[in-house]
């Protein structure tokens, strides 16, 4: 692999989207794209695989539901069955309707929190983590494309210029 990358800066999302398509068509490797807001269609243009966050959310939800079933049964039926207000709790099936709110809340609780934690872990975002966007303007109004260079610096530069980049810089990869 090369140790150098080219940073091309754009000031419009549609220009960027077109540029990403052109660069990929010319068979250059786009290392990363930094944008200030979600640009729709960008991940498709870059060829990024669909995310599986929703699937993890579903599985965590099932985990929460299962956990709630287990502890409700243990607490209310197994460990200390009581007759509360003339409604004895000796069978889980008969008492289940009263547990529906808790079953629901636990499903949501597990799904939401664990999915967000998974998202933070996968995208490597947490407190005290240093930001890695190479140019501070990419959180404001600029879009940055990072293209790998492999001895073809001139070719890529001229291609990027044609795509409408407003700034093109060669950087050492870190």
């Amino acid at each position: 692999m090369s140790s150098q990358v080219i940073h091309a800066l754009y000031d419009d999302d549609d220009v960027l989207l077109k540029a990403v398509k052109d660069v990929r068509e010319a068979h250059h490797h786009i290392e990363e794209v930094f944008t200030p807001f979600p640009v729709h269609g960008l991940e498709k243009a870059m060829g990024i695989a669909p995310t599986r966050m929703a699937i993890t959310g579903f599985m965590f939800g099932l985990t929460g539901l299962g956990f709630a079933f287990w502890f409700l049964n243990y607490i209310m039926i197994q460990d200390w069955p009581q007759n509360i207000g003339g409604k004895p709790s000796f069978s889980f099936a008969e008492n289940m309707p009263a547990f529906v709110p808790i079953l629901f809340e636990m499903t949501v609780f597990f799904s939401a929190h664990l999915m967000v934690i998974t998202f933070y872990m996968r995208s490597k975002i947490w407190p005290f983590r240093k930001a890695e966007n190479p140019d501070p303007r990419t959180t404001d109004d600029k879009f940055l494309m990072e293209v790998a260079v492999d001895g073809n610096e001139k070719e890529i530069k001229s291609l990027l210029e044609r795509t409408g980049a407003i700034e093109i810089t060669l950087k050492e990869k870190h």
Binding site: V33, P36, G41, T51, I75, F104, A131, D140
Partner: protein, 572 residues
């Protein structure tokens, strides 16, 4: 193009903004200084909050006896306030989750503040169940944790316990949803910050957000799933709150219509509070371009619908109470007995504030008017407080045994705690307004091209805009620095005071690092002969004016952004 939006839809970002303008506008309240009004409001809120803290400490130290509760009315202001606050805390999630599922773009200007309001309101709500337990140090009894007191478990059949689970889930999920949405906006503030302390704080809270394409993909999917989870969650919370009453056997409480009626009431009151806060905020924080008449009108429509549901519920309760012919039903909070009895004033406050006044919103002139909206929202806030007061106090004041009939009068502690929560709420909201990006700017930027006024105009009426552009181009051309001897003289005076720069021997600085100087402006400055921070740092009012007259673009911009001050910092 993918940005098409029907011309009939009104623009929801006005004032011809571009991406950078949005960043500047959202960051302005954080980077600027608070005015006198903010300090006055903050001081009043803080005093109310402190009074509330004192009242709570007095309650906990002495006991619930310091409240105005009596033998018959054993719940009063505490639960009234609890339900009122939790109801207010419904609009935020409704706006950010339900409207996200329905792909309503207008949510983006208001969802951040509405969610902040939700979270702060739920804080206040959570206080009341805690302190009304009396022995707060035994508060952990509501959690199903293994303990040494035999097998002392909580009762999972009880709606009061469902409340514990529903509200803590709601609070924590809302908080996480809110914070995840805040990350890109905190990152924007972080990357703009010039003061080291500010930079450190916003780096910390933005969790190192970098805005990679993959991050955004995950971000969007997580937001969508969270919205899908939060939607039933928000409905479940107030449903469960209504179960606190509906599953009891007290006349007026034991009612199967409670869950939908409570949820509608919660949305109704929540939107009223959002209106109250945002109508002030859009003025104070100069956000008129992002919180527009369209937003206000749409929220008023939601208020009208949910208010209608609430009004129908009142009518049906009233009718059924009368139709049963039960003498007990004649004293419930919606009955002839209540309307003419000792609590007639509370009954009529409810009917007028919630049932009658909101109907004014059917008139378009009123629902698109800021002042009318504000007044009606205040009435709804009051009316919804009375609704909970009526449900709790009127129903309890007339029991099965006439000799126990009584009334409730709050003590100074009751009042103190309520005012204290109001103070606490506004303390939090005022601090939020000065430290958080109050508009979800990343989301707003993503709809700028489809719903921004300038973009819509260009798309819907291209020929007119082209002409406009041509004209402005001509004007710019006229004032290009190379034309005219007058300009040259000005350029020379400017360079005289700033010092010249020899491009051959010296290394030019990257002037774009100065906030407000973009690539175009840098080129213009270079043309004039300004290349270094040193030159820019010497600029004063005089030089700014000269520069403005040479370039002819962005008059006053340089001074507003304080280029000299920034360059001075960058110089070293």
């Amino acid at each position: 193009m993918g940005h098409y939006e029907a011309p009939i839809r009104e623009p929801i970002i006005i004032g011809d903004k571009n991406y950078h303008d949005i960043s500047v506008d959202v960051a302005a309240p954080i980077e600027g200084k608070a005015n006198k009004l903010w300090y006055i409001a903050f001081t009043i809120s803080l005093l109310a909050f402190l009074w509330g803290v004192g009242a709570i400490i007095y309650t906990i130290g002495t006991g619930i006896g310091v409240w105005g509760l009596n033998n018959k009315i054993n719940w009063a202001w505490d639960i009234t306030n609890f339900v009122w606050w939790i109801g207010i805390g419904h609009a935020g999630t409704l706006i950010s989750a339900v409207l996200l599922l329905f792909r309503q773009k207008w949510r983006m200007g208001i969802n951040r503040s509405a969610e902040a309001m939700t979270i702060f309101a739920v804080f206040q709500a959570g206080l009341f169940p805690l302190i009304h337990m009396g022995r707060i140090w035994d508060g952990f009894y509501v959690l199903p944790i293994p303990n040494q007191l035999g097998s002392l478990w909580v009762n999972f059949n009880s709606p009061l316990l469902w409340d514990v689970f529903a509200i803590s889930t709601y609070l924590s999920v809302s908080l996480v949803f809110w914070w995840t949405g805040l990350l890109p906006d905190f990152a924007m503030i972080r990357d703009r910050a010039t003061k080291p302390f500010q930079k450190k704080i916003y780096s910390l809270v933005s969790f190192g957000w970098s805005g990679r394409a993959k991050d955004w993909q995950r971000f969007e999917e997580v937001s969508l799933v969270l919205a899908g989870l939060a939607t039933p969650l928000v409905l479940s919370v107030h449903t469960i709150v209504s179960f606190d009453f509906a599953t009891s056997v007290i006349p007026g409480w034991h009612s199967t219509v409670y869950p939908p009626y409570f949820v509608a009431g919660a949305v109704f009151s929540g939107f009223a509070m959002v209106q109250t806060l945002l109508l002030i905020m859009r003025k104070v924080s100069n956000l008129e371009s992002y919180i527009t008449r369209v937003h206000i009108e749409n929220m008023n429509k939601v208020i009208l619908v949910t208010g209608g549901i609430v009004a129908v519920a009142y009518l049906s309760e009233f009718f059924v109470g009368w139709y049963t012919g039960s003498s007990y039903e004649d004293f419930v909070y919606l009955s002839v007995g209540a309307a003419t009895g000792p609590y007639w004033w509370a009954f009529w406050a409810l009917i007028i504030c919630n049932g009658v006044i909101p109907q004014l919103l059917w008139i378009k002139k009123i629902r698109t008017n800021y002042i009318w909206t504000f007044i009606i929202a205040i009435f709804i806030n009051i009316g919804m407080w009375f609704e909970r007061f009526d449900i709790i106090v009127i129903n309890l004041s007339r029991g099965h045994l006439p000799s126990t009939w009584t009334q409730f009068s709050p003590t100074f502690v009751d009042i103190g705690i309520f005012l204290g929560t109001l103070g606490f709420f506004f303390v939090l909201f005022l601090l939020y307004a000065r430290t958080f990006p109050v508009i979800a700017q990343a989301e707003v930027k993503s709809i700028l091209k489809s719903s921004g006024n300038n973009y819509k105009r260009e798309r819907d009426n291209p020929s007119a805009v082209k002409q406009e552009k041509k004209q402005s181009k001509k004007e710019v051309k006229k004032s290009k620095p190379s034309i005219g001897a007058d300009q040259e003289a000005k350029t020379n005076t400017l360079l005289e005071s700033l010092g010249t720069f020899d491009i051959k021997t010296q290394q030019p600085d990257d002037l774009k690092k100065v906030k407000g100087i973009g690539p175009v402006m840098e080129k213009t400055l270079n043309q004039i002969g300004i290349y270094s921070f040193n030159q820019v740092s010497k600029m004063t009012k005089n030089e700014y004016d000269l520069l403005d007259s040479i370039t002819g673009s962005f008059p006053g911009r340089a001074q507003r952004d304080d280029w000299a001050g920034q360059a001075n910092k960058l110089k070293s």
